[in-house]
């Protein structure tokens, strides 16, 4: 029976992953900010077959409370087999450009808090000598673009952090997965005009994540076609990208 910790459990991609895991009677410890929404996710997972679901309210920007959350998690499940770190916000680029405090706050939500909680989870797993940490980054972190570089910079930090942690923890039996979704139709992207043919459903992305966790992959582009697309984008010289990116 898998013991699964999900940070940002009310996000659409995280909820879709949890649904897939619930089919094999997993135990869950769910963390998010809204009690009402968290309860609705928990009820859903229980009917779908989850063996047990515990909920914990936390704003991940309160870094000081991370340790207490993990204590509660260990107390509830006794250990963590899979941790999915999925919380985040889609930064409003235009507002961030004009408001330094907002830019810093967005970076804190999408990068600092992710790095902090991932570090703490890794420490608990290191003590146990096993586990998988899957962190949702984004293809947006692969290059800096005029239209979303505040969000992109945070995701770049997360990707680089995870890449290093993967190398460090591999020898200790701990598996780190960096997830880089492309466009996904979620509440977060509701107000964006996404190209339909490139946009995936949360369930499609969740299917890839669950598989990658099982196969102990290190970097997941999802859906798969983002891997060649981002390979090309990374190869594009800066002066070309600067022209294209607005």
């Amino acid at each position: 029976m898998k013991r699964i910790l999900i940070i940002g459990a009310t996000s659409a991609i995280a909820a879709a992953c949890a649904r897939r895991w619930s089919a094999c009677a997993a135990r869950f410890f769910l963390v998010a900010r809204s009690a009402e929404r968290l309860q609705q996710i928990a009820d859903d997972l229980k009917v779908r077959g989850a063996a047990d679901v515990a909920c914990h309210l936390l704003d991940l920007n309160r870094l000081d409370d991370h340790a207490a959350m993990l204590d509660a998690c260990m107390g509830s499940m006794g250990g963590i087999d899979v941790a999915l770190v999925a919380h985040g916000t889609l930064s409003d680029q235009d507002r961030c450009q004009a408001d330094a405090m907002l830019a810093a706050h967005e970076f804190s939500t999408n990068a600092t808090s992710v790095i902090a909680v991932t570090t703490a989870i890794a420490e608990r797993m290191r003590a146990a000598g096993s586990g998988t940490i899957a962190v949702i980054s984004s293809v947006a972190g692969d290059r800096g673009r005029a239209s979303n570089y505040v969000y992109g910079a945070a995701k770049a930090a997360v990707s680089t952090f995870c890449e290093g942690m993967t190398a460090r923890l591999q020898a200790r039996g701990i598996h780190v997965l960096t997830i880089k979704p492309g466009f996904v139709s979620t509440p977060m992207t509701e107000n964006m005009k996404l190209p339909r043919i490139l946009t995936a459903t949360p369930d499609r992305v969740a299917r890839d994540i669950v598989k990658a966790v099982e196969h102990r992959a290190h970097v997941l582009y999802t859906p798969w076609f983002w891997r060649p697309i981002m390979w090309v984008v990374r190869m594009v010289p800066g002066f070309v990208l600067r022209r294209l990116s607005r």
Partner: protein, 435 residues
């Protein structure tokens, strides 16, 4: 557009993700566009799922389970959950949908709003007969629980109420116990409408499911020939959920439909001859029997860019035989054959719904590739036969019926109009209630 891809009227979807957002979204859309309409899986064929304002509330993400009592077989889920999702959690625990329409890709809300029926109507009645309770979000009073004992008038009006009485937020359903997910199926060839009724009289009483496929291109002596299928859940066997992976998909819309007179004639003859003279018994999974077309994703695109229309009528018992024969005769004479012609005996289990479609007798459903001639000549002829027999057409499948025909078939429509939430209206409702 609806599942029939006709009529084509572009709709703007406004997504809802949490059921607590429903009252605010309803109010917001009503303020901006006057009226709106909840939209589920888009499996209604015609315009009953299209908003009068062309702005719909997309319920797809409001699809969480809320509670399950596996002792009693009571399941509660948000309205956007599909029947496929319900089956996937209840089959492993030995429960099954008490009523399943021809596809599992419909939402609970849609199944309730259209009071759908299935191949076991003669035993279990409609979907609404098994809905014990649901939550209805009204623009004037917020969410109200509805059942036979709470807000009963809203309970009756909402079952088959075409989504107009308020937004169905969640549904509680009484499931049916099964010992296996397998079906014991028996197929029998028959040669005429009279033989259909004879088989129905012989087999329906001892089978949970009964349905007939009709070769509606056959005329003359073979008029009304077809294949009668009956089934029961197997008494023992595995409880497995059908896999989602082995499905085909129609990848694009061909400019000209591939369903035409030549392909139809070939298919119908083959299908009829494949079932030999003798009765054939087989054991199959529930999916190929209950949801054969779910194997092919987006099969509606096979009809090409023009789309198709379905004609489904219910005929009362006393005139069913003659009217069915007359309908088949008119269709065969019209030479606009139908790929999916299905006839089924309906039973006497009464629906709690005010506007339920089935009636004791027979229901006949036919798909026609869209063509201007349908509205010009064939449909008026068929409509007349149905009206004269005292039957009615199915709003969930309809894109053509006249207001006059509708009001004749559903004499209680004014009660629904009186209870309609003033912020909800559909293209269908506008069409059939205009005088």
């Amino acid at each position: 557009m609806g599942w029939g891809r006709f009529p084509r009227i572009a709709q703007t979807a406004h997504a809802v993700h949490w059921r607590a957002q429903l009252p605010a979204v309803l109010r917001g859309l009503a303020d901006r566009f006057g009226t709106t309409l909840p939209y589920g899986a888009g499996r209604s064929y015609g315009d009953s799922c299209l908003a009068a304002s062309d702005h719909v509330i997309d319920m797809k993400d409001v699809d969480r389970f809320i509670d399950a009592d596996w002792e009693r077989g009571l399941i509660t889920a948000e309205a956007g959950a599909t029947l496929e999702q319900v089956l996937s959690v209840c089959i492993p625990r030995g429960w099954f949908l008490p009523v399943a329409p021809g596809t599992q890709h419909v939402t609970l809300g849609g199944a309730l709003a259209n009071d759908v029926h299935g191949k076991n109507h003669h035993v279990r009645g409609t979907f609404g007969c098994h809905v014990t309770r649901f939550g209805l979000v009204r623009s004037d009073r917020g969410e109200i629980p509805c059942s036979k004992v709470e807000n009963a008038e809203w309970y009756h009006a909402t079952i088959g109420g075409l989504g107009l009485t308020g937004i169905i937020a969640w549904v509680q359903l009484q499931l049916m116990p099964v010992r296996s997910s397998l079906m014991r199926v028996q197929k029998t060839r028959f040669g005429s409408v009279d033989d259909f009724f004879a088989l129905s009289a012989e087999l329906d009483a001892t089978h949970e499911y009964a349905v007939a496929w009709i070769d509606c291109l056959a005329h003359g002596k073979s008029l009304g020939r077809g294949v009668y299928s009956v089934a029961n859940h197997a008494a023992e066997g595995p409880l497995t959920v059908a896999s989602r992976d082995r499905r085909l998909r129609v990848p694009f819309v061909p400019p000209i439909g591939v369903v035409n007179a030549v392909s139809l004639r070939a298919f119908n003859s083959l299908y009829y001859r494949r079932v030999g003279q003798a009765r054939v018994d087989t054991t199959v999974g529930y999916e190929p029997f209950l949801f054969p077309l779910d194997r092919i994703q987006r099969w509606n695109q096979l009809y090409g860019a023009r789309g198709f229309q379905q004609f489904q009528c219910a005929l009362p018992e006393q005139h069913a035989r003659d009217a069915a024969r007359e309908l088949l005769h008119a269709i065969a004479a019209g030479r606009r054959g139908s790929f999916l012609a299905v006839m089924k005996r309906c039973g006497t289990v009464a629906s709690p719904g005010l506007m339920s479609f089935p009636m004791p007798g027979v229901t006949l459903a036919l798909d026609f590739p869209q063509h201007a001639e349908l509205a010009r000549s064939l449909f008026p002829r068929l409509d007349r036969i149905v009206a004269e027999a005292g039957g009615r057409l199915y709003p969930a499948k309809d894109a053509h019926m006249s207001g006059e025909n509708f009001r004749l078939g559903y004499p209680r429509w004014q009660q629904l109009e009186a209870m309609r939430d003033r912020t909800l209206n559909s293209r269908f409702w506008q069409r059939v209630t205009a005088t």
